[in-house]
């Protein structure tokens, strides 16, 4: 794929490899889990016929009306058809974190201190965002 005489940095090819595999796996997961959802193979928390009553509400009203909890509570609801989809969505949203973790040893081995620190800070930022600690006040 790359031009043979153009040298791509090792961390870049490593990152691309993890991203490629993760993206394909993530897409397959969301297609599979969505099929389970729309064909009612697992009963959803919100019946398909009723979802249109909730999607026009602001998010905090939707959470109150449906009894859904924010954060990682979807993990406890993976047995429900609609919440099963969050497995694929979270996986896709987590790929970049895995990519950064994977290139850390490459950057450390190269003694590339500046980019090791940048990668570490990026991992911390993304993990903080994913942690669920940061909640919005709602409107």
């Amino acid at each position: 794929m790359q031009e043979p005489h153009i040298k791509i940095a090792e961390e870049q090819t490593t990152y691309a490899g993890v991203l490629d595999t993760g993206m394909k796996a993530g897409l397959l997961i969301i297609i599979f889990t969505f099929a389970v959802y729309v064909f009612n193979l697992l009963q959803p928390h919100i019946p398909n016929a009723e979802i249109s009553r909730y999607w026009s509400l602001p998010v905090h009203q939707y959470l109150q009306a449906t009894g859904v909890h924010a954060g990682w509570s979807w993990l406890h609801m993976l047995g429900k058809g609609d919440f099963l989809n969050f497995a694929g969505i979270a996986f896709l949203a987590g790929i970049s974190i895995i990519c950064y973790i994977r290139i850390m040893p490459v950057l450390i081995a190269k003694k590339d201190t500046a980019y090791t620190v940048i990668a570490l800070l990026e991992i911390l930022v993304l993990v903080l965002a994913a942690s669920g600690v940061l909640r919005s006040g709602g409107h």
Partner: protein, 314 residues
């Protein structure tokens, strides 16, 4: 060529009634008797067409998705922005590996920029979810109209002249070589004005998180015109950059409950399939008028968002 143009025209003509149907149902939800499965189906069709138009028009899917779906579908803007971020994220994840392996996207250029933009996207997402909907809707309309102005007036530079790399980019060794297939040349590049460019990514990150738009429309001019990266490197690095920026903002929407799979998944699949078809059409022809159609669509959707936000056209 004629058949392709006709096909694009038919798709756009299909798009208009679908949008009008959605706008009507959105305005009169109580009288809508449409079965539930109509919505993901119409969403899939509309996003499939958006995917084609986005590729042909040279814009990201997210920038079309949020104003059009937010303006004409009955979904609350919170869920549309959450879906918009995931749509832009998936497009970037899909394009990223190829761009990195070809050496068009540059990881050393992207990483410092991504750190700033992704941190600020978290702030943008939290502010966007906390503000009243009408304010976000109005600001979204103004932003979309601003993007239209950028699309009309901003120039692009294939190979900007960078006489001397600045101290920061030199210290971080942000430079590279890419192969320009059209001329067969290897192009050496370096950048300048790095501190100013990084400062602008604070604003870009906040806007990306707040509106769920993706941010290619802002990334490319900053990387290309301000920092002096070649256009192809700027476009490719911008696309890859979204995979990191939108990740942080997407998590805020996920953790605040603003992601509905019934909206997100048909949109992701629709846009991605549309993009694949768009790339195939692009390989054969590029209708010159498509850029004007994109500008018109954004202008209309921006006006709709502005009028919806100000309560003039609900």
């Amino acid at each position: 060529m004629r058949h392709l143009k006709a096909a694009v025209l038919v798709l756009i003509l299909l798009f208009i009634p679908a949008i009008l149907f959605c706008a009507d149902a959105s305005a009169h939800p109580e009288s809508s008797v449409a079965p539930w499965w109509i919505w993901p189906l119409v969403l899939f069709i509309v996003t499939f067409i958006l995917g084609i138009v986005a590729v042909l028009g040279g814009v990201g899917g997210g920038v079309l998705f949020v104003p059009i779906i937010g303006g004409f579908f009955p979904f609350h803007l919170d869920f549309v922005r959450g879906a918009g971020l995931l749509v832009a994220l998936c497009g970037a994840l899909a394009a990223g590996p190829g761009l990195l392996k070809k050496g068009l996207a540059d990881l050393r250029l992207a990483m410092p920029v991504a750190l700033i933009a992704s941190s600020c996207a978290i702030v943008g997402a939290m502010v966007g979810l906390a503000l009243p909907t009408n304010i976000v809707q109005t600001a979204l309309g103004i932003t979309i109209l601003g993007i239209v102005a950028i699309m009309i007036y901003a120039k692009k530079s294939e190979l900007p002249e960078v006489k001397k790399a600045d101290a920061l980019s030199t210290a971080l060794r942000i430079n590279g070589i890419y192969h320009e297939a059209s001329t067969g040349q290897d192009i050496n590049w370096k950048i300048h004005r790095t501190p100013q460019g990084l400062a602008l990514f604070i604003i870009i990150g906040v806007m990306a998180g707040m509106f769920g738009l993706g941010a290619g429309w802002a990334n490319v001019p900053v990387l290309n015109l301000l920092m002096g990266a070649p256009l192809k490197v700027s476009v490719a690095t911008s696309k890859f950059l979204l995979s990191v920026t939108d990740t942080s903002a997407a998590w805020i929407y996920i953790n605040n409950g603003a992601v509905l799979p019934m909206i997100v998944v048909p949109s992701i699949i629709g846009i991605m399939l549309g993009s694949i078809v768009g790339v195939k059409i692009l390989a054969k022809t590029k209708p010159a008028s498509i850029r004007y159609i994109v500008i018109f669509m954004l202008l209309f959707a921006g006006m709709r968002a502005l009028l919806k936000g100000t309560g003039i056209w609900n």
